[in-house]
Symmetry: C3
Subunit: 350 residues, 3 copies
């Protein structure tokens, strides 16, 4: 039964309702109605905006927004109605969820879905067209699995997970509650393990699984491989952007953030509350401490024992200038030795 | 109704017909028949070749091609029949389209496709097996949607779009005419936005959509995220290679080219006619001028105000040599200071 | 007919059986039963472990494993029963295959699969739900094609290939025996070829195909484009990790290894037995010799004529220190000239 189609409709709140829901102080008319969010610059009447970066403080004067979420300190700069928050960005995040259109979800199991009789599926789920669920899989209540997804044998989804179209989950993958997996995500493919016998590469069967804790979001096209012997582990609250690769037996600590196109090689452990920038590479068998930040496109080739910000690369130059300097980079060791030599000569004569 | 299967067959032209279709001057026998394209080196009788790079001019003497597309200036070097073009590479591109096998397309809507009754589908389309089209979606005439694709609610495809297998398009994505989307492309997944409340990351609902203008091609596995508040925008004629990531609220100007595995972080604006090399990273909230070229694997961390070629990185070295220099890179600031000191001492004594 | 579901069950061997199957010498009781593999540290009774890295030799004393695969030289350090191997890592790889759970495969063709009548399918295959096989495709015996895969017209799979869910293979792709293709792999999408006519990019139809030899494994989300005129070619035994991009007309030599997130631009030839690290970029039209190793995230912008190890990049620094040095990188050419000047002055006075 596909059931009826829930049409998404515009959400409207009075500012009084909104202030209560967001638990912030309203300074202005509580009866004004608002129906969405917008930037300070583009907001018109009926929209709520926010100031989370002081760079945009000058836009407070001219904004056409019906209300602005901002810190007490900037209240005087703002002509519009104010929603005073200690963390305007967090308040904006919460407001965005209130205004998000209720997704057009077809409740029940689509008649085309191919579900093994041994799979167990709890109530209140939405399972889309052309979904495959293999033997002994378990889908907890409230899950929404969009069309074309594949759930392997003995894998399980916790409550209220959301899988967008064409997600592939292999066997023996265990996912917690409220996971969000975007399209083309692949969880549990074989880790990349081969033993070279002098002539060819012998495949190392990947006997482990993948464990993903609750409140994890994984962006479109990202891949998390199964473990070689033990499991690959993603901690609670971890947020992973698009095109991220996490290799076999990695452990990613709770609440860490991994930006798009980053890759973590096998058996590396990332701490808690880390921020891995976009396009970062981290080689295998390393340990990264808690609260480490890695800037975009850095290569991490050694373990990092202390919280801090780390970077690599040369920075961008106009190509002509870059070519001149790059030649010198190749002479750098030679330059250093010649400098030392000159120092000896010059300082020796003083 | 799946209808009959159109078999692809070899296309044959006389050189006279080909010259007319390509709008170039033929020097030789117009009755010679040709049935395909090949490189100067591998072409045999019945094939057309081309010279677009003067590096290969010496191959003109020995080529077995029945005809060669080339500039007037090289005509004397070529023994074969000539097709004289001011832009041989463009003429080759046009010829390649003439010789491309007519795709084996099953007209009509495959009986397994799952199409919401509120979706509107114009004539002359081909919708493959296991395609899902959600509520209020619109598919214009001439579109070919291959098996396993998913089109979200309220999304629309312009005329003559081509979606290969397993493309995922979320809701509220608007795509212009003649788009080509390769397999595993994902358009409209949530932008990567979270507000950290000191304890965990709060999801920022992504309320914008994606707008893609006409004549855009997007390579296999590439992802374009939906906007946070406003839409993510891809301009007309933009060509995007495989594994490219375009984050929320980016704007990519008309006719720009983005090579494989590049990533553009959120809210960055790329100008028109830019060429972004492979593996490039561009951080968020930047503005890149028109006609900027970025060389492969560069990191762009500041806005670029002027057309030009830009690069970063150290260039490749043998690892032993690289290690010696890399140590000095870490001493570079120290070296610069010591050099300044020596200059003072030495020049002071002159 | 989907047939009966084969349940995976734990494999048990006596050490005597295992030693015979692995062709290694057993030192200990051949009647002990083992049912799996584990690391030296985590292994309990009933598990077999291995020592392939002398760094872990100290763990031999305390391991609870029932048996350890190791070299003769370390036999005396090991209290447990020993399986003596000249190549413990290769022996471990072979053992891992013995203990791999027999996959839960549904034999036959799933009733929902959409198979063109002109496609030929040999015996003993498993074709999953929602698979599409186009006209004149050929599937050899023993292939397992999981749900949601798409096989294009005239494409062929050799014997005993394994395609996981949601793989997309375009037309005219030829794959050898025993290939393993993980989820979201795309083979045969158009190469990225356009000719710029001064105003817009004209598509170059990609008329070649893809040839993949036997014993190739391709990781989740990786893409191999079809050739422009000739085919893209992947040699025997090549192993490709996740998120790898191989552009049109590349040739990858036999038994080379390409780690995750690497990209090879068009018309580049990689030799045999090469190891391309993770996140590497190789620009187009290059030739890389046999047995070349490229370290992670290097950019290869010139051909490499000799076997060896090659690297690029600056190494990782704490950001504060990195910023100081990066400024000097931009002054490097100037520093080199000033150093030369000082040398002239100083050495001239000696």
């Amino acid at each position: 039964m596909t059931g009826s189609h829930r049409v998404s409709k515009q959400t409207v709140f009075t500012l009084g309702e909104l202030a209560a829901l967001l638990d912030v102080e309203l300074r202005g008319d509580p009866s004004i109605e608002v129906d969405g969010l917008a930037t300070l610059k583009s907001a018109g009447a009926g929209k709520v905006s926010f100031l989370s970066n002081s760079r945009y403080v000058s836009q407070l004067v001219d904004t056409q927004a019906s209300a602005v979420i901002l810190e007490e300190a900037f209240a005087d700069n703002c002509a519009a109605t104010k929603l005073i928050s200690k963390s305007p960005y967090v308040t904006y995040a919460k407001a965005s969820q209130l205004f998000a259109p209720s997704p057009a979800i077809n409740p029940g199991v689509h008649p085309t879905a191919s579900i093994d009789p041994s799979a167990t599926i709890e109530g209140d789920v939405s399972i889309g067209a052309f979904v495959t669920i293999a033997a002994d899989a378990h889908i907890a209540k409230g899950c929404v699995i969009s069309e074309g997804c594949s759930i392997g044998a003995r894998s399980s989804l916790g409550e209220n997970c959301r899988l967008f179209a064409n997600v592939s989950i292999y066997h023996d993958v265990c996912i917690g509650d409220r996971a969000v997996l975007h399209s083309s995500v692949v969880i549990g493919a074989d880790g990349f393990g081969f033993a070279f016998d002098g002539r060819q590469s012998i495949k190392i069967a990947q006997l482990g699984g993948v464990q993903i804790a609750s409140d994890v979001e994984i962006g479109a096209g990202s891949t998390i491989d199964r473990g070689a012997l033990d499991d690959t582990i993603i901690g609670q609250g971890v947020k992973i952007d698009n095109h991220v690769q996490i290799a076999h037996n990695c452990i990613v600590g709770e609440h860490s953030i991994i930006c798009g196109c980053s890759a973590i090689a096998g058996s590396t452990t990332i701490g808690r509350y880390c921020t891995i920038g976009g396009g970062v590479g981290i080689i295998g068998h390393l340990t990264i401490a808690d609260k480490v930040m890695i800037s975009a496109m850095s290569l991490v080739s050694q373990s990092i024992g202390e919280a801090g910000i780390y970077s690599s690369g040369t920075g961008l130059l106009e190509s002509k200038e870059w070519k001149r300097n790059i030649v010198r980079f190749r002479q750098l060791d030679d330059m250093a030795k010649r400098l030392r030599e000159l120092e000896k000569l010059t300082l020796g004569k003083l």
